[in-house]
């Protein structure tokens, strides 16, 4: 029987930055490694904002592992960093270069389709030499167990595969982490939802409008009252010949406020402040969305079990350092550390130690401290208790508070630039909405530009995406509006009064009585993962190669 099962020394699931780093490091250590990726191409399923950071303190960086990375796979480096506090049409901008540069060797904007496909090619070449390789269009469905112990993976397309090491680098909606019982999809407050538009723009126009040299780029962040009180903010990054503009909000806030994510994105796109950069024409190449874990709450302190290790988003290792989002870099570090741990364990003739060693490395290398800062535990979580939040909101908004803001403008700018301060920011309205709004009201200047952009409606955004429609991959377990209605608004491709989305609000009359239900059509689904958390569903990824295909990402 044993002969029927394919065996590799290591199987890596997912070829995002975490999987690529793990596979490259395994291959470098001569470990026979098979990489499985569900997309038609690595990157076809992935979305980032995306600035990828190389931290000076990190044991591994992406260009350390893949020397030509910056030349081949990235867009523009970030040379300018500004955060804009917005209240109505008033804006107060702070330079946050210090925060950005703290511990940063470099940071480049990336588009994931390009970045991940390049990485995948490198990974394939290197893993082939070990007797493995990269296979795309393979959906890993779960863990293979023998006598209750994890020994490999099962897939939709291939026979089960056994391995001494299973690396789950399968991203935020990790089916493996869930199968292992290490992560769950229960609490909206452990997640953010990111939504993004990639906007076409000639390189020369970008240089002019952002006042950057051809090989430089800008990063702008936005917070304040333009998002209807939903906690989160916006970003704009310059690529070679496009802009990445998006929003990232706390999922619990989106759910509570019944906010429509595409409308929040439109609020940013149509704000007068954007006029200087967007100009008159607006050509949206792609609309996309994905959940983002909040490491402060979701990062698993011990992300392994039997032969399985979790890396990157699958382990919740996505750090929101105030307005700066660091997921890719930590995925890289974790992937390489997991691989290194396996190589160490194997050298000691006990591959089963890999998980323990990996956990130890995450702590020893300081990764865990970044993901789950102690300051946040003491200060931030306290701030989230609502009486405290209400009080601080009230104080910040009071005359005294406002006076403080005016008096302390310089101090505030410095506070925004302090990595320690921002890592302790509580997840409340105060830092995201109240404070930026008060800052803008008290210190800001009105923007007089007129923004004439009219973003495409949802039907057109869906129409512009590429889908290879397969069988429905999400099953609505409870279709009552009570249980699953939040998805109608929270799903980034659904909306109230829109029949073309995934989730639709329906009133169904049966035998004289009326029922408030939702129905689901997964065809327009962009696989963001939101409804796995806010609705009562059985959520899986589509089969290999099926579903949405991002061209930008």
């Amino acid at each position: 029987m044993t002969d029927a099962v394919e065996e590799y020394e290591a199987v890596v699931v997912g070829c995002g930055p975490g999987g690529a780093a793990a596979a490259a490091t395994l291959a470098r250590n001569g470990v026979e490694t098979l990489v499985l990726e569900r997309g038609v191409d690595a990157g076809s399923k992935n979305v980032s904002g995306g600035l990828i950071y190389a931290e000076e303190s990190a044991p591994y960086t992406i260009d350390g592992l893949f020397p030509d990375f910056r030349e081949e796979a990235t867009e523009r480096p970030v040379t300018e960093n500004v955060i804009h506090n917005i209240a109505g049409d008033k804006v107060k901008s702070f330079d946050i270069g210090d925060l950005h540069h703290h511990d940063t060797a470099w940071a480049d904007a990336v588009l994931r389709r390009k970045m991940d496909s390049w990485l995948a090619q490198q990974v394939h070449e290197r893993t082939r030499e070990t007797g493995g390789g990269l296979l795309t269009e393979v959906h890993v469905t779960g863990l293979l167990r023998e006598r209750g112990e994890i020994v490999g993976v099962t897939t939709e397309e291939l026979d089960p595969i056994k391995a001494d090491l299973v690396v789950a680098a399968d991203g935020v909606n990790s089916e493996l982490a869930r199968d292992a019982g290490l992560m769950d999809w229960e609490d909206p407050d452990e997640w953010f939802q990111g939504v993004k538009a990639v906007v076409d723009m000639e390189p020369g126009v970008i240089n002019d409008r952002f006042d950057v040299a051809p090989d430089d780029g800008a990063a702008h962040l936005f917070s304040g009252d333009l998002f209807d009180g939903v906690r989160g903010g916006g970003f704009l990054y310059t690529n070679e010949d496009s802009l990445s503009i998006g929003t990232v909000f706390h999922l619990d806030s989106i759910a509570e406020e019944h906010a429509e994510p595409h409308e929040l994105l439109d609020s940013l796109l149509t704000h007068p402040l954007m006029a200087q950069w967007l100009g008159g024409e607006y050509d949206e190449r792609e609309y996309s969305a994905k959940l983002v874990p909040d490491s402060k709450k979701a990062a698993h302190p011990s992300p392994h079990k039997d032969r399985l290790v979790l890396v990157g988003d699958a382990a919740g290792q996505m750090q929101a350092q105030g307005p700066i989002i660091k997921g890719m870099n930590h995925a890289v570090t974790a992937g390489a550390l997991a691989a290194e741990a396996f190589a160490d364990a194997r050298a000691r003739n006990d591959p089963s130690q890999a998980g323990e060693l990996y956990e130890k490395k995450l702590h020893d290398e300081g990764v865990m401290d970044k993901l789950r800062p102690t300051g946040y535990k003491v200060f931030g979580q306290l701030g989230e208790l609502s009486p405290v939040d209400d009080l601080s909101n009230a104080v910040a908004d009071s005359a005294v508070g406002r006076f403080g803001v005016r008096a302390a403008a310089g101090l505030l700018e410095r506070a925004y630039s302090s990595p320690r301060m921002v890592s302790m920011i509580p997840d409340t309205k105060l830092p995201y909405v109240t404070l930026p709004t008060v800052i803008a009201e008290e210190l800001g200047e009105p923007v007089t530009d007129e923004n004439t952009v009219s973003p495409p409606d949802l039907a057109d955004r869906i129409g512009d995406l590429t889908y290879d429609v397969g069988d429905p991959h999400i099953e609505l377990v409870d279709n009552s509006f009570e249980a699953s209605g939040t998805a109608v608004t929270a799903c980034p491709v659904s909306a109230q009064d829109f029949g073309g989305g995934c989730y639709r609000d329906e009133t169904v009359k049966t035998n004289g009585s009326e029922e408030h239900l939702v129905s689901l059509d997964t065809q327009p689904c962009v696989e963001c993962g939101t409804c796995a958390i806010v609705a009562d569903t059985e959520w899986e990824h589509p089969a290999g190669g099926k579903g949405v295909e991002f061209k930008q990402g």
């Binding site: 044993t2 020397p67 390789g133 390489a336 073309g500 169904v508």
Partner: protein
């Protein structure tokens, strides 16, 4: 000073470099440099690992006869066996691995070492041992049903084989595409073969079914020299017993094992086919395995490439003497993707000294070969193969069957009446009213938007049967181009539009005059479909639709 100063290198470059350093002292010197210099933890681990490894290899010289394989990684095993030249020791290792962890990769390392060790003897020209043939009954006297590799069916040796036989599958009265693709490939292979070996062997097409004779002309046009067909009304659907019996009977006709009365046939004077090719379809896979088993040969299933070439073989089981190499001619090389799709194996089916492995058989993945252009001028010989079919073969009866594709075909109607989520207020009534309008036309049918099909609406049972994906119009449904397309309560999403915008006249009914469908419809009736549909039905029945359209046109 060691050759490599680690502090001058990135971690990524160091990995491969350090692997080549075998001297523990040198490694320790490198470690010291790193500690004094950049002191990077992963680099130190890397060097430490290497030191551990080098020292392991150095002092602990493993004794392959006693070592505990469980302690070794596959790579360790590979390194160890490289030093072992004794076949018995290796075989003992192999047994121990099998009894222990049974790692496939470890086993293959040991096996390939055995092969290369035994191979060296051969080149040294020592005595070559004749591989003795022991019949299974003698080899396993304790078994009551001894088999060799498998039970012998024929056990023929040195018989004559000719021609390439292609099983041409039909489905629902049509010759399936892969049958044509295989014929094209067979033609090409046999033309080259006849030239290379100065032969005159043929492409033989086999047709079995209730309508076999309908396809004779086609299979000749696609490349067959000879068509052997058997037709019987009982063969309307594929059943593996009669199909296997017929195919094998044909293949054996005129040969050593021919059925009674078919020992001499004019069209065939050899034992069995040289090559057989089947489609790797559901039925073809089934048939190919049974036929090749019955003919006592092997099968390479799911192939995507075929070519005929000679092959040098050293496997003693095939050659007869250990250490010998022998060239086998006219071998069909059957290429097939391995499980992963990124490696290919080439499978050969080769005679043993005491047992023939012919026909050399393959099943072929549909679409692997190009579809040839048919040539209806070609000549071919046709054999209407006569044999009696045993009633016993038909004890399995096909009572009912379903064809998966097909279903509702909305194309070809003059009129399609389609409804969308606009029926939401009373879905059952909406479908009823649409069906009434359908009935008012001569040649019409009901279509649906995807929005309706995926809704949570509950329909009364008498209309529920209509609400299926088979009626979906659009990108992931059907594309229709009737004279008149009526879209009631459909917003006109791009994915719906592609299914209907080639229609001559599109009439939309919508409460929202600005719905997207406006952009591609000829007439838009602003109104509630529950009111408008009955009016349309009345108008059609009264022959007034044209007039009504003109009225709303201005």
């Amino acid at each position: 000073m060691p050759d490599i100063d680690p502090t001058e290198h990135e971690i990524a470059e160091l990995g491969p470099k350090i692997k080549d350093v075998d001297d523990a002292d040198e490694l320790r010197a490198m470690l010291a440099l790193e500690e004094d210099g950049e002191d990077r933890v992963p680099v130190k681990t890397l060097i430490e690992d290497r030191i551990e490894k080098v020292e392991d290899e150095g002092d602990g010289e493993m004794d392959p006869e006693t070592v505990d394989l469980a302690d070794l990684t596959v790579a360790d095993v590979a390194n160890m066996v490289r030093e072992v030249d004794d076949g018995d020791v290796l075989r003992d290792l192999l047994e121990r691995e099998k009894a222990g962890q049974d790692r496939k990769t470890a086993k293959s390392q040991i096996e390939s070492r055995i092969e290369s060790v035994e191979g060296t003897e051969e080149t040294e020209g020592e005595e070559t041992a004749e591989v003795e043939y022991v019949p299974p009954e003698e080899k396993y006297p304790e078994l009551d049903h001894p088999t060799n590799d498998k039970q012998w069916v024929e056990g023929t040796v040195g018989a004559e084989y000719r021609d390439m036989w292609v099983y041409c599958e039909t489905q629902a009265g049509e010759l399936v595409d892969v049958s044509k693709e295989m014929l094209g490939k067979a033609r090409e292979l046999m033309d080259t073969y006849n030239e290379d070996y100065d032969e005159d062997e043929r492409v033989v097409a086999v047709l079995i079914g209730s309508d076999a004779s309908d396809h004779i002309e086609d299979v000749i046009a696609y490349g067959a020299d000879l068509v052997v067909s058997h037709e019987d009304p009982r063969l309307e659907r594929f059943r593996h017993q009669p199909y296997t019996e017929i195919f094998c009977d044909m293949a054996r006709a005129g040969g050593e094992l021919a059925a009674e009365g078919r020992e001499d046939v004019a069209w065939k004077d050899y034992h069995e086919p040289r090559y057989t090719v089947f489609p790797a379809t559901n039925n073809g896979r089934d048939l190919s395995a049974l036929v090749q088993g019955e003919l006592d040969s092997g099968l390479a299933s799911d192939c995507s490439g075929l070519y005929i070439e000679s092959a040098m073989i050293s496997n003693p089981a095939k050659v007869g003497t250990a250490g010998d190499k022998k060239e086998f001619e006219r071998v069909l090389h059957m290429k097939r993707p391995d499980f992963s799709g990124f490696e290919y194996s080439t499978i050969l089916c080769i005679d043993k000294p005491n047992r023939d492995f012919h026909p050399q058989g393959a099943s072929v993945i549909p679409g692997s070969f190009e579809m040839p252009d048919p040539d209806y001028e070609r000549d071919g010989e046709v054999v209407d193969y006569e044999m009696d079919l045993d009633e016993e073969w038909f004890t399995v009866e096909v009572e009912e069957y379903d064809r998966l594709s097909g279903g509702v075909d909305l194309t070809g109607n003059d009129v399609v009446v389609a409804v969308g989520r606009g029926i939401g207020d009373d879905p059952t009534q909406g479908i009823e009213q649409a069906l009434d309008l359908v009935d008012a036309f001569d040649e019409a049918d009901l279509g649906l938007s995807r929005g309706v099909i995926t809704s949570s609406y509950s329909f009364d049972s008498h209309v529920e049967q209509y609400v299926t994906e088979e009626r979906q119009i659009g990108e992931s449904g059907q594309e229709v181009e009737p004279d008149v397309y009526i879209a009631a309560g459909i917003s006109g999403a791009i994915q719906h539009k592609v299914g209907c915008d080639e229609s001559d006249t599109i009439i939309a009914v919508n409460t929202n005059p600005d719905a997207d469908i406006r952009d591609f419809s000829d007439y838009l009736i602003e109104g509630d479909l529950f009111e408008v549909l009955p009016q349309l039905t009345e108008a059609v029945e009264a022959g007034e639709l044209g007039a009504m359209m003109e009225a709303s046109d201005d």
